[in-house]
Subunit: 142 residues, 2 copies
DNA sequence: GTTTTTCATGCAACTTGGTTGCAAAAGTTT
DNA sequence: AAACTTTTGCAACCAAGTTGCATGAAAAAC
């Protein structure tokens, strides 16, 4: 995780995104959360921004490959900050875990997505491996 | 794929679902489609049913493990008929493919989901492996 | 360094996918 | 058949997210 505003500014720059104050806040919030966040979750943490502004940031980030979006089965898309410094394709494809109890989504950074063979003539552009269940924290609590 | 109404009736019965006319129609439509269908897609094929009725069928089917729901990144959940005759957990976990061009989702029945090791104390309840890209039909068309 | 032009933002209104309340219809039980 | 339960259609509602538009901030042109 980064800690200075300036680093987020550079990160945005790296991805060809003009670093406005709002955008830095959104990038920072995503990074500090340490897990993929939904629009609504970000709204709760960025009280000063309108949800439409956050939404537009996320869309822009996605277009510029600063975040990638993932559907976890909650009915909200979540956005994860790409930690690769370049704006090229993700080198860091890992499994995600959605906890059905606490409704949080975790990155299993240590667990790469096993690859598969597609049928002929299917072109893969992205892959999502999502496990749903009960996370360690919720399990120990029950 | 089945072909007689009676078979759907039995299928519903097997899963402890009272087989009303509407429910048989929904099960049949799902089966005939041969791919996971969204509520909206089903609405288009079942003009005589109200969407709330279809929605309630799908919810009921899901509760009784006759369908399972999957999020494919379109913003609509899709429902796939479980072909296992029993109402127990799916023996038939396969990869899905979402075409970003025609917005259809396909089952890659021949491609089982490769398993992974979860970190300690994480309990997996279900797994979703979703590939997005361009399907064979759309690729050949372009 | 001010004007011009482009870009970003907040607000409210809208869109979309889906659910719910309720009364009528269909199906069960006695 | 009467009493009861379940299912259905309709309309109203809801939540998540997007869009139109007027205002404000930043960058480019002069």
């Amino acid at each position: 995780m980064m800690s200075h505003k300036k680093e987020y500014l550079l990160l945005l720059d790296d991805h060809g995104i003009r670093p406005t104050a709002n955008r830095i806040l959104v990038a920072e919030a995503l990074d500090r959360a340490g897990r993929p966040m939904s629009l609504m979750e970000l709204e709760d943490r960025l009280l000063t921004l309108d949800k439409s502004s956050i939404s537009r940031c996320l869309t822009l980030f996605k277009e510029n490959h600063l975040v990638h979006a993932l559907e976890d089965g909650s009915d909200a898309v979540r956005y994860e900050l790409c930690h690769s410094r370049s704006h090229h394709e993700d080198d860091d494809q890992h499994v995600h875990f959605y906890c059905e109890k606490c409704h949080r989504t975790f990155c299993l950074h240590e667990t790469p997505i096993p690859s598969i063979d597609l049928p002929d003539d299917y072109v893969a552009l992205s892959v999502n491996y999502m496990v749903k269940g009960i996370c360690a924290a919720c399990k120990s609590k029950s």
